[in-house]
Structure formats: structure tokens, C-alpha cells
């Protein structure tokens, strides 16, 4: 008993020792790489790749639990580390793209603001230009006044050569005029500086307008591309609709064909139950015994015959209309001419009855075959009974009707 307990303790200790084995460096690195990637932008911007890294790490962990120090565990850990680093890098790429898009949007916004400011400056400078022009005109008027004053002064000097007071007055006027002229020259210089500044502003506006036009052209091109793509999509949709309609029509035609085949099979089974039905080269041949249709040497249908022909008509009307040939046959008793006429009248009687019951008249022909096509020997009473008959030949349906 003690030996058994000792064995259990030894096995448990060995198992625990196995569980507590140290993870290889590759697995430790992979865990660390995954944690780093999870803490970065990959968590939000590249979750699919982070998930792949997690799956790879799980695989490595499972391999570690199975065989802690195997080459496979190390290789799986190595791959998991690379995938974690890749997820981190993809997160960083997504963040960089986002930054770039924001910066580009800012750039365009600022450019638009600059254009607007340029237009505003231009309007301001035009206003200032008008003010400057008015100032120049004022200066010109002052100069004219000064010239007039000079002329008057000169005339006054000539008229009043003597007189200190007049001279003083003249000197004072000259001084004032001189001051006014100096002031006018200063204003002229300021106006010229202003004009130069306006020219610079105008040039800047022209550059801005050109850039604006280029961007407008790019936007127009983008709109045209979108319109073109929409047209192509509309054409594709129309094509798909057409295809779907064709498929529906085909399914409907198939169902119709199947139903028609089923009806035909049912009708044939019904006809086979009514009378003898055989498949021959000329078509399906339904043979009705003459003895149940007509009295001897007569061509009017008996009441029992009418019941039988009602059943035949009903079965034929359930299928797609086919061409019928009603053939009358007799035995060899009597002359050929008599038998030929009798068989024709009997065929006509059957055809008329079928038409009366609703079968299309243009689909039925009646032929008297006389005694020329016996199916049994005329030497015995039984054989002659079999030869007295009416055959309804149901032509085969034309193949194209299936399409």
C-alpha cells in the first residue's frame, strides 16, 4: 500500500514539474509583442490582424502545453511574434493614413480661406485706389491754384512795386504755396507706393484664381466619372433584369411543358383503358371494334358507340390538339365498291361525332379504307369481326411545339 502511495506521489510531482516548465524565449517574446500591439492603435484600427496574431499566439501556447521545448513550439511562437508586430505596424499605418487625410482636408480648407481673403483684400485695395485717385485730382487743383496765385503775385509785383506790406503778404503766400506743394509731393509718393502694393495683391489674386480653377476642373472630372459609373451600373442592372425575366419565362415554359406531358400521359392511359391503343409508325392507333359502333351494313352510330366516343373525345380534349385521321375498315363480304363507300360513311360518322363534341374540325380527316387493310383472316367469323373496325390515328406532336 505504501509503495502505491509513493508511486502516486512521484507521478504527481513529475506532472507538476512538467506543468511548471519555463516558457521558451520565443514564446515570451511573442506574448510581449502581442501585449504591445494590443495596447496600440491596432486594437481600434486593425482588429482583424490583431485577431490573427491572437490565434497564432493561442496555437503556440497550445503547442507549449503539449511539448514545452519543442522546435515546433518555438517556430509557432516566432510566427506569433511576427504576426503581432505586423498587426501593430498595420495599426500604425492606419493611424498615419488618418493623419494624412486630416492634414489634406486642413490644407484644402486653408487654401479656400486664403482665396476668400485675397478677394476681400482686392476689394479693399480697389476702394483705396479710388480714394488715392481723388487725392491726386485734389492735388492737381491745388497746383492750378498755386500757378494762378503765382501769376497774380507777379502781376501784383508789377502793379505795386513799392509797399513792404504787400511784399510781406506776397512772401507769406509764397511760403504757404511752397508748403502746400511739398505736402502734395508727399501724398503723390504715398499714392505711388499704394499703387505698387495693389499690383502685388492683384497678382496674388490671379495666382489664387488659377489654382481655384484647376481644383474646379478636378471636381468636374470626378463628377463626370461618377455619372459614367452610374450609367454603367444602370446598364448592368437592366441586363440582369432581362436575364431574370428570361429565366422566369423559361421556368414557366418548362412547367407548362411538364404539365402538358403529364396531361398527355393521363389521356393516353385513359384511351388505353377505353380501347386498344398501339404505337405505330404512322402514330398512336386507337382501334374501335365495328360491332360496337355500327349495326351491320349501316353507318349511323349506336347509342353504346356514342358513349364510347364521348370518352374518347374527353380524353383527346385534355391534351394539346393533334391531327387525327379516322379510318373506316370493313371485312371482305360484299363488293369492293360497296365496302369502300360503307367504310367512308362510317369514318365520316365518327369524325362528325367527334367534331360535334368539340374537337377542332380542321384537325380531323376521315378516310374509308374498304376491305383493303385487314388485320385478321376473312375466312372465319371471328376474323371478319376483327376486320370490321374504325381506327383513330393520333398523329405525333410536332417537335417544335415543345420549344
Amino acid at each position: 500500500m505504501k509503495v502505491l502511495q509513493l508511486c502516486i506521489l512521484t507521478i504527481s510531482a513529475a506532472y507538476l514539474a512538467g506543468c511548471a516548465s519555463v516558457a521558451p524565449k520565443e514564446l515570451v517574446d511573442a506574448r510581449s509583442a502581442y501585449q504591445t500591439a494590443s495596447a496600440g492603435p491596432a486594437q481600434e484600427l486593425a482588429p482583424a490582424d490583431l485577431h490573427k496574431a491572437q490565434l497564432a499566439l493561442n496555437e503556440a501556447e497550445q503547442s507549449f502545453h503539449k511539448d514545452s521545448d519543442s522546435t515546433k513550439t518555438k517556430d509557432l511562437s516566432y510566427v506569433a511574434q511576427r504576426k503581432s508586430e505586423q498587426a501593430g505596424a498595420l495599426g500604425a499605418i492606419a493611424a498615419a493614413k488618418s493623419t494624412k487625410e486630416r492634414a489634406n482636408a486642413d490644407f484644402q480648407k486653408q487654401q479656400a480661406a486664403i482665396v476668400e481673403q485675397g478677394k476681400k483684400d482686392l476689394r479693399e485695395s480697389e476702394k483705396q485706389s479710388a480714394v488715392t485717385q481723388a487725392e491726386l485730382e485734389k492735388q492737381a487743383a491745388l497746383k492750378t491754384a498755386k500757378d494762378t496765385a503765382d501769376a497774380e503775385l507777379k502781376a501784383s509785383e508789377q502793379r505795386t512795386a513799392a509797399g513792404q506790406q504787400a511784399a510781406a503778404v506776397q512772401a507769406e503766400r509764397a511760403r504757404q504755396a511752397s508748403e502746400q506743394q511739398a505736402a502734395a509731393e508727399q501724398r503723390t509718393a504715398a499714392a505711388q507706393t499704394e499703387l505698387a502694393r495693389q499690383a502685388e495683391v492683384k497678382a496674388a489674386k490671379e495666382r489664387t484664381d488659377a489654382e481655384s480653377q484647376r481644383q474646379q476642373a478636378l471636381i468636374e472630372q470626378g463628377k463626370r466619372d461618377v455619372v459614367e459609373a452610374e450609367k454603367r451600373a444602370a446598364v448592368t442592372r437592366a441586363e440582369l433584369d432581362k436575364q431574370a425575366a428570361l429565366n422566369r419565362a423559361k421556368a414557366s415554359a418548362d412547367a407548362e411543358l411538364k404539365a402538358s406531358e403529364q396531361r398527355t400521359a393521363a389521356a393516353m392511359a385513359e384511351l388505353a383503358a377505353i380501347a386498344s391503343l398501339k404505337e405505330e409508325e404512322r402514330g398512336l392507333v386507337l382501334t374501335l371494334s365495328g360491332s360496337i359502333l355500327f349495326r351491320s351494313a349501316e353507318a349511323s352510330l349506336m347509342p353504346a358507340a356514342q358513349v364510347k366516343l364521348d370518352q374518347v373525345t374527353k380524353a383527346l380534349l385534355t391534351i394539346h390538339p393533334r391531327s387525327l385521321v379516322v379510318e373506316g375498315h370493313t371485312d371482305s363480304q360484299g363488293s369492293d365498291a360497296y365496302n369502300q363507300a360503307l367504310s367512308q360513311r362510317r369514318a365520316d360518322a365518327v369524325r362528325d361525332y367527334l367534331v360535334q363534341k368539340g374537337y377542332p374540325a380542321n384537325q380531323i380527316q376521315a378516310r374509308g379504307q374498304g376491305e383493303g387493310s385487314p388485320i385478321a383472316k376473312n375466312s372465319s367469323a371471328e376474323g371478319r369481326a376483327n376486320n370490321r373496325r374504325v381506327e383513330i390515328v393520333i398523329q405525333r406532336e410536332v417537335q417544335t411545339s415543345k420549344k
Binding site: 517556430d75 505586423q86 505596424a89 498615419a96 493623419t99 494624412k100 490644407f107 486653408q110
Partner: protein, 121 residues
């Protein structure tokens, strides 16, 4: 007896198919196409000019060669495992190259905005 015979035939067929599959797997040549194409893609993405990407590109090439040698020696399992290392390093080299490009473009976009602001203050 009839059923026993049928079960026996089925087991025999399964054994033959399984043996064929195992034998087939053992002779499958080392599929290096993915590693090779990833290495070429990393080179085209400019990994050689990006320090971090360059390191992983070099590792991928060395691991591919090591896998080929292991395969030639008959260590198929170890060769395939080494090949996964090469594939992972080559993919990482591609991603790091793209990361460098994207970061550069983002920096340039930000700088362009800053310059525009400065010029129009």
C-alpha cells in the same frame, strides 16, 4: 458472414486509401512559392532601404535557405516549420516598408499645412 465480409472489405479500402495519402504527403515537395513571392514583394516595396524592414527581409531569405537545406536532408516537418518563419518575416518586411512610406507621407502632409499657415499669417 456476409456483413463481416463487407465490413472487412470496407476497412481494407480505407487502409489502402490512408496509406496512399500518407505516402503522398511524405513525398510532397517543399512549397516555397509563398515565401519567394513575399520576399520579392518586400524588395519591390523598398524593404532594403528601410532599416527595420531590411532586417526582416534578410531573416526571411536566410530562413528560406535553411528550409531548403532541411528539406534536402529529408527533415520535411522541420523544413515546413522553418518555411513558416520565412513567410512571417517576409510579410512583416512588406508591412514595415508600407508603414515607413505612410508615415513619411503623413509627415509631409502635416508639414505642408504648417508651411501654408506660416506663409499666410
Amino acid at each position: 458472414m456476409k456483413y463481416v465480409s463487407r465490413i472487412g472489405m470496407t476497412l481494407l479500402a480505407v487502409a489502402v486509401v490512408a496509406t496512399g495519402l500518407i505516402a503522398g504527403c511524405a513525398n510532397v515537395p517543399l512549397r516555397t512559392e509563398k515565401s519567394t513571392s513575399n520576399i520579392r514583394a518586400a524588395e519591390e516595396a523598398g524593404a532594403a532601404t528601410v532599416p527595420q524592414a531590411s532586417l526582416h527581409l534578410q531573416l526571411a531569405k536566410e530562413e528560406l535557405e535553411a528550409a531548403k537545406k532541411l528539406s534536402a536532408k529529408g527533415d520535411k516537418e522541420e523544413a515546413r516549420s522553418m518555411l513558416t518563419r520565412a513567410e512571417a518575416d517576409a510579410e512583416l518586411a512588406i508591412t514595415l516598408s508600407h508603414k515607413d512610406t505612410e508615415k513619411t507621407e503623413a509627415r509631409e502632409a502635416v508639414e505642408r499645412v504648417r508651411q501654408l499657415r506660416k506663409d499666410n499669417l
